[in-house]
């Protein structure tokens, strides 16, 4: 039965993610005084990509073939590691670990970077470099926040942490936890790859630029994988800092999807706010803010507040 619920968790995310993406696009268009596409546009895009033929660069090797599936497997596994439909006594509890999620994220990044190298496309290469640098920035901040939670709750096992927080033994009354939540949300926003840190749908050298040579069904799979990654990142925040749930797995899944959808759609209000940052200057400067917030949380933990 637990396998069924895990499968349900994954499939529902795959099915719902394009809808939220469509809503976000529509809302963004309204915000910019455009009519915008229908909210089901992302489904249509994906379907169309599946039916398209493919071309590839003559430089590509086996990495080009396996990268979409590897990326999908990684992000899907990340999403499965979020204990939404299962709890600490389930057989999946020994899989659901904070470090598993972080290192699956690293595996995703590794695949992403080398697939950029593999296509020999100049823009893909620049995108790879950018992805690696963002990874360096965000991982440092993310781990600072996560240490606070892990040490405070005394484990790196996510279902256990969520249970401790739900029971009220640990939570927002601890200052370091409350402060860490702010910085963590910030970093997770950066990881979802939106403006001002990244721009998913334009300029070739940015994050999507890595995928410049991908097309057809490969691109469709990668698109779903990227959406799943954004879901997992936001879900990672929710499960650690807002672990609301019901005893019924289906109800908790619905609640969780609603929460993620809320964050996903309303992130466009930040998204539309400013231009993209240049990598050298503003990236460094703006990442210093969450880093200092996270350091404050860490300091508070260390001195034992």
């Amino acid at each position: 039965m637990s396998y069924f619920y895990l499968f349900l968790q994954l499939i529902s995310a795959i099915l719902v993610a394009p809808l939220f993406d469509g809503i976000a696009r529509k809302l963004r268009a309204k915000y910019q005084s455009r009519i915008g596409p229908s909210i089901f546009q992302t489904y249509r895009d994906l379907y169309k990509l599946l039916k398209r033929g493919r071309t590839k660069s003559h430089s590509t090797s086996f990495i080009y073939q396996i990268a979409p599936y590897l990326m999908f497997a990684t992000t899907a596994a990340m999403f499965c590691a979020l204990p939404i439909t299962y709890e600490s006594y389930s057989i999946f509890a020994r899989f659901s670990d904070i470090f598993v999620i972080i290192y699956l994220g690293a595996l995703f990044r590794f695949t992403f970077i080398i697939s950029g190298f593999d296509t020999a496309n100049p823009f893909a290469g620049v995108g790879s470099s950018r992805e690696a640098t963002i990874g360096f920035y965000s991982e440092a901040v993310a781990i600072c926040c996560l240490i606070v939670v892990m040490l405070g709750a005394g484990s790196s096992n996510i279902p256990l942490i969520a249970a401790i927080i739900r029971d009220g033994n640990y939570g927002y009354f601890v200052p370091s936890y409350a402060i860490a939540s702010t910085a963590f949300l910030w970093v997770m926003y950066v990881e979802t790859g939106r403006k001002p840190y990244d721009l998913a749908e334009a300029e070739q050298e940015l994050q999507e630029g890595v995928l410049g040579e991908y097309c057809g069904k490969d691109l469709a799979i990668i698109d779903v994988a990227l959406m799943l990654k954004q879901f997992s990142m936001l879900g990672f925040f929710l499960i650690l800092f807002e672990p609301w749930h019901f005893n019924n797995p289906i109800l908790s899944l619905l609640l969780f999807l609603a929460e993620i959808g809320f964050l996903y759609v309303f992130a466009i209000f930040i998204d539309n706010f400013g231009p993209r940052f240049t990598m050298g200057k503003w990236m460094k400067l703006t990442m210093l803010f969450p880093l200092s917030i996270a350091s404050i949380a860490l300091m508070l933990y260390i001195i034992g507040v």
């Binding site: 994954l10 999908f72 497997a73 496309n121 040579e213 034992g304």
Partner: protein, 646 residues
């Protein structure tokens, strides 16, 4: 057991005797080394939990005893395992050096080097230990020199210099310990009655002594120099096992001292620094072998973090933390030995095929060397600690130990453990960057320099076999994480008495793999259900915004790290030089990375030593009558000294 050592000695002598027929001697030397080390690996592994000892017969200055306990058995097993793979690889690989050196001597030194490492692990007295330790250093230095070339002398001198600083500290520490224990046998060392200050001094001396050999942070400068200089099989052996011998000896001697929590603090501090700085230089380096060498420093840092947790646990009387820390350290020691020697051997494949170490001149090698490329992919995944391979398994245990330590009430320990976790995570992110760059720039994309690409070809099957074996170990040690930890915990519990250990709270690696496999099936099912377009893929040029594509448009290893170099320019010093003459000629772009610590720490010391040597040189002027005068003065001084003080 003695037969293993004797066989290595005989093989070494035999291949030396055959120096007139180097090709034959090379076959005998490496072939026998391979067989003996396979036998040794099986032997040591099957006797893992026993204690064996033997005495050297005959009239030596002392009567050296040799003793292997559980930990020694484990390290001997590791040495023989890696030696097996490397000697099988060398069987073909050394032919590359046929014109440069006598292969018989190479084979002989190779066997002697393995023997010296095994003996260092087994030795049980101060004199035999120091002697064998120095022999090991010398043999490794000679192995480096096989690849004689520009700058070889400097690289070897730096290596020997740092090794001598270490050996000096070791000698002092061991003599002090021996004088307190009243015996030169290590078995008498266990109950030392010394003051706190002396205890700490001894610990720092041991740390400098063994840390310098292991490539710990302030002493890491010799790693890229020595490893880039030496033939790849020698660097595989040095990085894979020689630095593990140093770590073994460190664990062994540090356990003799009375434990305090300060030991843990010192180890955590240096582990943290090694972790971050090692991998930072690995990222920005343009030489793939230097990248691999620098990442040794990072991995030694990770091992030191595990050891730091262990020694903290011993000092603060938290046996569970001590056990966990030692398991983490030993696990990472195995893993690092496997994937680092694998990577160095792979770098040997690349170098023999292309004759260049510059990543900006490589690219697209996957098409020429597909098997090397796939194995490199596995090795890169495992060194970046990506699930589900072995690097992840051991880093996870290290994290677990750090978390357990970070929950201690004292502010100092919390601070250091938290810093350690950050260093591990940042090191992990940078390792991903470093090795995705190495893999991408060397194997993927299109060749940047036709000349080195054209002659490249896949290496022979004999050379690929040990690589396959080690790659299998990379996967297996990850999947069977639970069983490996069981074996390691038995070893650890043999020297930390009265504790128990279980892994109920550990992640289950088979579950990780199962979920990933199930997730990997999903897209295929979806594609099938939605009837995707499966027509053959058309092949085109990469898109270059309408310009004619040129291979130099690809991102190179140099430009890939541009952003991170600028972001970290406060610690990474580099010089760029651009030469443009004329509109139609190619611009030349050169970049040189400075090792901050080489410039700030080592250069001044070297300059000072040179200055002193220069001044002392006045006395050595080559005139015999001056030398006779010196002897006369010296004799007079001895007489005066004897008259007044004796």
């Amino acid at each position: 057991m003695q037969s293993i050592y004797i066989l290595f000695l005989l093989t070494s002598l035999l291949s030396l005797l055959l120096y007139k027929k180097p090709l034959f001697a090379q076959k005998i030397g490496f072939g026998l080394a391979c067989l003996i080390s396979l036998y040794a690996a099986v032997f040591f592994f099957s006797n893992l939990h026993e204690t064996l000892m033997w005495k050297l017969p005959g009239n030596f200055i002392t009567a050296p005893t040799f003793r292997l306990d559980s930990l020694g058995m484990f390290f001997s097993f590791l040495i023989s395992l890696i030696a097996f793979a490397v000697s099988l690889y060398s069987f073909e690989y050394v032919k590359f050096y046929e014109k440069k050196a006598n292969l018989a001597v190479f084979a002989s030194l190779f066997n002697a080097f393995i023997l010296s490492m095994l003996l260092v692990v087994a030795s049980d007295g101060v004199f035999s230990f120091m002697l064998l330790w120095e022999i090991m250093t010398l043999l490794s230095a000679l192995l480096i020199l096989f690849n004689d070339g520009k700058g070889a002398a400097k690289n070897v001198m730096v290596y020997l210099g740092i090794a001598q600083i270490g050996a000096f500290c070791l000698m002092v520490a061991l003599l002090i310990m021996a004088s307190f224990a009243g015996s030169f046998e290590f078995s008498a060392f266990s109950k030392l009655n010394i003051s706190f200050g002396m205890n700490l001094t001894l610990f720092v001396l041991l740390l400098i002594g063994f840390g310098s050999k292991a490539g710990m942070f302030p002493f890491h400068v010799w790693l890229p120099m020595a490893y880039c200089q030496s033939p790849s099989n020698a660097s595989a052996l040095m990085s894979g096992v020689m630095i593990k011998v140093a770590l073994f000896a460190f664990i062994k001697f540090a356990l003799f001292l009375p434990q305090t929590v300060q030991f843990g603090y010192i180890l955590l501090f240096f582990g943290t620094l090694s972790c971050v700085f090692g991998v930072l230089y690995a990222v920005v380096s343009n030489d793939y072998k230097a990248s691999i060498a620098y990442s040794s420093c990072e991995n030694v840092g990770i091992i030191f973090l595990g050891l730091g947790a262990a020694f903290y646990g011993l000092g603060a009387h938290i046996p569970s933390l001590a056990v966990l820390g030692f398991i983490a350290a030993l696990f990472h020691i195995v893993n690092h030995a496997v994937f680092k020697s694998l990577l160095f051997m792979l770098s040997g494949n690349i170098f023999t095929a292309t004759l260049t170490r510059d990543m900006d001149a490589l690219g697209g090698l996957h098409k020429k060397m597909p098997i090397t490329s796939v194995i490199f992919f596995v090795a890169a995944l495992s060194i970046c600690a990506l699930p589900p391979l072995n690097g992840f398994a051991s880093e996870w245990v290290t994290y677990k130990a750090m978390l357990l330590g970070g929950m201690e009430p004292s502010v100092m320990s919390r601070f250091l453990f938290v810093l350690a976790v950050i260093a591990l995570a940042v090191g992990g992110a940078l390792a991903v960057m470093a090795f995705s760059k190495v893999y991408g720039a060397v194997f993927l994309g299109l060749p940047r320099d036709e000349k080195s690409y054209e002659n490249a070809q896949e290496v022979s099957n004999i050379m690929l076999t040990p690589l396959w074996i080690l790659a299998t170990f990379c996967v297996g040690l990850g999947i069977f994480m639970g069983d490996v930890i069981d074996v390691l915990s038995k070893i650890v519990l043999s020297f930390i008495p009265a504790t128990s250990f279980n892994q109920n709270e550990f992640i289950s690696m088979p579950m990780v793999i199962l979920v990933m496999l199930l997730c990997a099936i999903v897209p295929f099912v979806l594609l099938y259900l939605l009837k995707s377009n499966n027509k053959t893929v058309r092949i085109t040029d990469p898109w270059a915004c309408g310009f004619i594509y040129n291979n130099n448009m690809q991102i190179g290893s140099n430009s890939f790290t541009g952003d991170i170099r600028r972001a970290l320019s406060f610690i990474l010093r580099y010089e760029s030089e651009i030469t443009i003459d004329g509109y139609f000629s190619k611009a030349v772009y050169k970049r040189k990375i400075h090792d901050f610590f080489w410039d700030k720490l080592y250069e001044p010391i070297i300059r000072l030593v040179m200055l002193i040597a220069d001044k002392i040189g006045i006395f050595q002027n080559g005139r015999t009558n001056f030398y006779a005068g010196y002897i006369l003065v010296y004799l007079c001084m001895v007489l005066i000294f004897a008259y007044y003080y004796l």
